[in-house]
């Protein structure tokens, strides 16, 4: 059966998600200065770090990913979005929930945390529902579809465990397993949801943006199985306190990442475009970077033990996940805007090309600043060097502001 076009999600709603996401990214950079002291001391169980992490993950990453998924799911899986009305309700529920939750975390107000945490959970639940009802119409399952649906499953579990954490914080229902809930929440969110959704959509976007054909996808099931098995074994390890499960689980996840990097290199070998756009280049480097981060973490762990946890977490979240999203977003926003504004003018009048909507040269400057800032921040955290973090985060913030400006400029084209 021939794949047929599908109804896209509400484009204006996607813009709202992206704009709020970019705004959160700016706030995150300001908050980072405030959290410098604790980060440099290796202290992360404090409210300003919780606010920092959740502003980045819930406010920026999740906001952008959810907004873009309303457009990408019809494209990647050839299904229509189940309900655009539900998407709107979901946006407001989630946005209000996240803002309230961040205020609750900031003020250490457990009632706010519980109430707005529940609202955030409801917002995500509505998103999951809308996605699953959309995917229900899927005709042909493939590796990408399986990874995306599994990632959505982990998204649900991530917020469920997050909700259990804040409710436990408020009502002390499970005082003995608070840490286990926290580690599982982090594992599900970082690996099960965000890493997997990037991997899943890369199966579509990487060949599309590089015009690659004729490459093999023979390792796709191993990538999927490695990561899934790794997550399950790690959860067993977290709850049983048996280190063997942690080691073997981590090993399987590493195998999944190694194979995914190989998959990306296969796609790159078969690309027709000799020069890739900067946004996509960044996303590709983020994949190889993830391997470097993991490899380096393993080596350093042997010498330094758990002290590498915080800089590793920083590089993994901000480097691999953050740069993947920032890179793809730099490609996707012009795509969405062009489709919205010019698609019905093709063949009738001259229309701009996508490269006319966003500057490659300026993009390179923004990404360079972000990259220098990223390395500096990670090193500053690892070496407990406060003034160094101040300096590098200033560079990162400059890059972030410039990046945000370039994205917003697309809407003025």
């Amino acid at each position: 059966m021939n794949p047929s076009p599908s109804t896209m999600g509400d484009i204006k709603l996607t813009y709202r998600f992206i704009l709020l996401g970019i705004f959160s990214f700016m706030i995150f950079n300001l908050l980072f200065f405030q959290g410098t002291y604790h980060l440099a001391q290796g202290i992360y169980r404090v409210n300003d770090i919780w606010v920092l992490v959740h502003t980045f993950i819930l406010g920026f990453l999740m906001m952008v990913v959810m907004g873009v998924m309303y457009q990408l799911i019809p494209v990647a899986l050839l299904v229509s979005i189940y309900s655009n009305r539900l998407s709107k309700i979901q946006f407001w529920t989630y946005a209000v929930g996240v803002i309230g939750l961040l205020v609750g975390l900031w003020t250490v107000n457990t009632t706010w945390m519980a109430f707005f945490g529940t609202l955030t959970f409801t917002g995500v639940l509505l998103f999951v529902l809308n996605m699953l009802l959309s995917v229900k119409k899927l005709i042909q399952w493939n590796a990408m579809a399986l990874i995306i649906v599994t990632a959505i499953f982990y998204l649900f579990n991530t917020v469920l465990f997050g909700l259990l954490l804040v409710l436990n914080y408020r009502f002390a229902w499970f005082p003995n397993i608070h840490d286990q809930l926290l580690y599982t929440h982090i594992l599900f969110g970082i690996v099960g949801w965000l890493s997997s959704i990037i991997i899943g959509f890369s199966y579509k976007m990487a060949p599309m943006f590089s015009l690659a054909h004729g490459y093999s996808e023979k390792f796709s099931k191993w990538i999927y199985s490695g990561i899934q098995l790794g997550i399950i074994l790690l959860v067993v390890g977290i709850f049983s306190h048996i280190p063997f499960f942690n080691w073997i689980g981590a090993l399987f996840i590493v195998i999944g990442f190694v194979l995914f990097s190989y998959q990306m290199s296969e796609i790159m070998k078969h690309k027709m475009k000799s020069t890739l756009d900067i946004g996509f280049q960044v996303a590709v480097y983020a994949v190889y970077g993830s391997l470097f981060i993991i490899g380096l973490a393993i080596i350093l762990y042997m010498f330094l033990g758990m002290s590498i946890l915080l800089p590793f977490a920083y590089f993994f979240i901000m480097g691999w996940i953050g740069f993947s999203i920032l890179g793809y977003l730099y490609k996707i926003v012009p795509f969405l805007y062009w489709t919205d504004k010019y698609s019905d003018k093709v063949g009738k009048e001259p229309v701009p090309m996508l490269k006319d909507l966003v500057s490659e040269k300026k993009g390179k400057i923004a990404f360079s600043l972000l990259f220098i800032g990223l390395i500096g921040n990670g090193l500053g955290i690892g070496l407990h060097f406060i003034s160094f973090i101040w300096l590098s985060n200033t560079i990162y913030t400059l890059g972030a502001v410039y990046y945000g400006y370039l994205i917003l400029r697309v809407f003025k084209a």
Binding site: N2, P3, P5, Q71, V75, A76, L77, L78, K204, P207, M208, F209, L211, H213, G214, M272, K273, S274, T275, F335, W338, T339, Y342, S343, D344, V346, G347, K348, V351, P352, M353, L354, K355
Partner: protein, 99 residues
């Protein structure tokens, strides 16, 4: 007088905005037929199924052909068999992509 070449020429004005190449040089046009009544049939594909630019490129091809004076009915069929591959591009298009 409308003929296949004239239709092909007008389709060169329809671009894939991501690649900056027109649909003819990209090798996306599989067949063009022009009847005695000046009805035009175009069979085309896209570089990948589920391309987000699906609607705009096919509708753009239809609009471009309709803009030819005296054309009556225009039908654009989007097909996925045979699947597009890079060898279908013209040498000029490959060159523009840096190949």
């Amino acid at each position: 007088m409308i003929n296949v070449e004239k239709v092909r020429e007008i389709l060169r004005q329809v671009y894939d905005p991501e690649l900056g190449l027109n649909v003819v040089d990209l090798g996306l046009i599989y067949d063009i037929q022009v009847t005695e009544n000046n009805d035009v049939y175009v069979k085309m594909t896209l570089t990948t199924p589920g391309c987000p630019l699906h609607g705009s490129i096919t509708a753009g091809a239809e609009s471009a052909v309709k803009s030819i004076p005296d054309v009556k009915e225009v039908k654009v069929d989007l097909v996925w068999e045979p699947a597009w591959n890079p060898n279908m591009m013209t040498e000029e298009a490959k060159k523009q992509l840096g190949r």
